[in-house]
Homo-oligomer: 320 residues x 2
């Protein structure tokens, strides 16, 4: 006879990162008390400047859109023959990508970010490694941190999700973006730490990007995102300083966790992947101290931990 | 023998409103010099409050999303049986709606906002009044201002675009939203004057809204839009004052234009539709004074004029 929990709630449709609200409900406190290390979002975001009124009020005009696209082309060294589309977040693109070609078999090397498989399956695709028509490479992979190479672009339709690649621009596969059937995704929210702003890019085969643009509609990106995105993508100094700080903080995090018995299994400098004896016990122990980390339905030993803000290290150190 | 114009440029893919940048290129001046009356966007927007840092930095969490949805349900009296989805602008929804059911024949009474037909045609639909499977009613219609009734919901799949209906909430067809096959669209940008923020809603048949949500992906709406949208949709006082001012200003605009020989043909209190002898000449005359109005490829006599900001009436009066 099974006993239903008294406080059963509907689970979210997919196992997403975030979920801080649910953690607060269970372990108490307010959002301000919590240290959210469950994501791979840079805790020291690009500073949001004062915005001109028109950014909020007017329909985004072609001038502001072109400025963002030009900044993105330059920042990421986008090949001239590749097309580029800005969208309100990489997730909006991931949801539409399976519509670009007729449904078939897609290879999504796992474990990885689960939104790709969910989106392909919702559009009638089958996930399998057996002669796939499509392949998704998360580069570097989330959560393992594995990098792929151009030789891994083996399917006629290949998505390279570079949402976390701005920590290591020399590893980018952007030079492959103009290949027929290739689409590279870029995310603004993670490296620049402005996930709430919603900005992402699809860069690739012009025929595919044109279809994606049709599905996206005009004025997809908000005025604030156009304005802040263009400024940030021209600021190479900020990016360089940021990479260096993230790298140092990732090392500091590793020292803290390995001192408590965790083993470094992978990750990137935006999040670390630790192998522990019982990940759910680690998560719960830290949650009691109002620190929220990430575990995965497919592993009992993976614990993914994002970087704290410079002022939050003490809370983490005392909790461990 | 035809003569090509020296300054031919690629036309935009569709005849959109806006296009102020192109007008500035042709007639000079800077954006600040121009009075943009080419849209139906309220020139006195809902005031943008100071935003909490998390609105920019964190992935939009379920709490903020639920608060927006609850505010929208209450503001628009959404029937309990209708589902509701927030998206980054009504345009994002319009681009995806033709994917919801298999392509067939769609009836889109014209003239109307051209993005609906463009989107349906791009997805393989045929626009015709001959036993349509789908119907699009822009309510009130843009640019004529015509209102429809529940009796006009005659196709198995009917989209009611209420982007401009917040000027006349008693005319809303939202009570029909729970009907099978029905989807009502709401826009935040026009009535609240924050078009750059990107926020819109699809409200209707839960099965259709669920498919639309799948195509939209998680975290579709920005943190700032969640925060500002929820505040605005709870502010009935602002909405009431706004309706009254828009109505007075529309009357004032009519007086100005009819005094110069234009005839009132329709419109709403967010834009007026005038009939003039040669619309392109009126547009050009006003453009020389840095006032941008709207004409249409399907009519030589329709001139659509938005409302000026309270401080901009003098510029318009002296130009006429």
């Amino acid at each position: 006879m099974s006993v239903l929990p008294h406080h059963a709630v509907s689970p979210p449709p997919r196992d997403h990162g975030g979920g801080l609200d649910a953690a607060i409900l269970r372990w108490g406190g307010t959002r301000a008390d919590w240290l959210d290390l469950s994501t791979g979002i840079n805790p020291v975001p690009y500073p949001v400047p004062d915005l001109p009124d028109w950014a909020w009020e007017a329909l985004p005009d072609t001038g502001a859109q072109s400025a963002l696209i030009e900044a993105a082309r330059s920042f990421w060294n986008v090949p001239d023959k590749a097309a580029i589309l800005a969208a309100p977040g990489a997730s909006a693109l991931i949801a539409r990508i399976p519509h670009l070609v007729p449904a078939g078999i897609v290879d999504i090397p796992s474990p990885t970010y689960n939104e790709h498989a969910a989106s392909f399956v919702a559009q009638g695709w089958t996930v399998s490694q057996d002669t796939p028509q499509a392949r998704v490479l998360v580069h570097p992979n989330n959560p393992t941190g594995r990098f792929w190479s151009a030789a891994d672009i083996t399917a006629p339709f290949t998505i390279i999700d570079e949402s976390f690649c701005d920590i290591a621009p020399d590893q980018s596969l952007i030079a492959q973006a103009a290949q027929p059937g290739c689409v590279v995704l870029k995310s603004f929210g993670k490296f620049w730490g402005l996930a709430g702003m919603r900005l992402g890019f699809a860069i690739g085969d012009p025929a595919l990007i044109a279809r994606l643009a049709d599905m996206t509609g005009p004025w997809a990106v908000s005025g604030p995102a156009l304005s802040i995105g263009a400024a940030a993508l021209q600021d190479h100094t900020w990016a360089k300083t940021c990479r260096s700080r993230l790298s140092q903080d990732a090392e500091r995090l590793d020292k803290l966790f390995t001192a408590k018995g965790a083993r470094v299994s992978g990750g990137t400098s935006l999040f670390r992947l630790y192998e522990v004896d019982a990940a759910s016990e680690w998560q719960e122990k830290l949650a009691k101290r109002h620190i929220w980390t990430r575990i995965f339905p497919y592993s009992k030993t993976f614990l993914r931990v994002g970087l704290p803000h410079p002022e939050q290290w003490a809370q983490l150190e005392s909790a461990l």
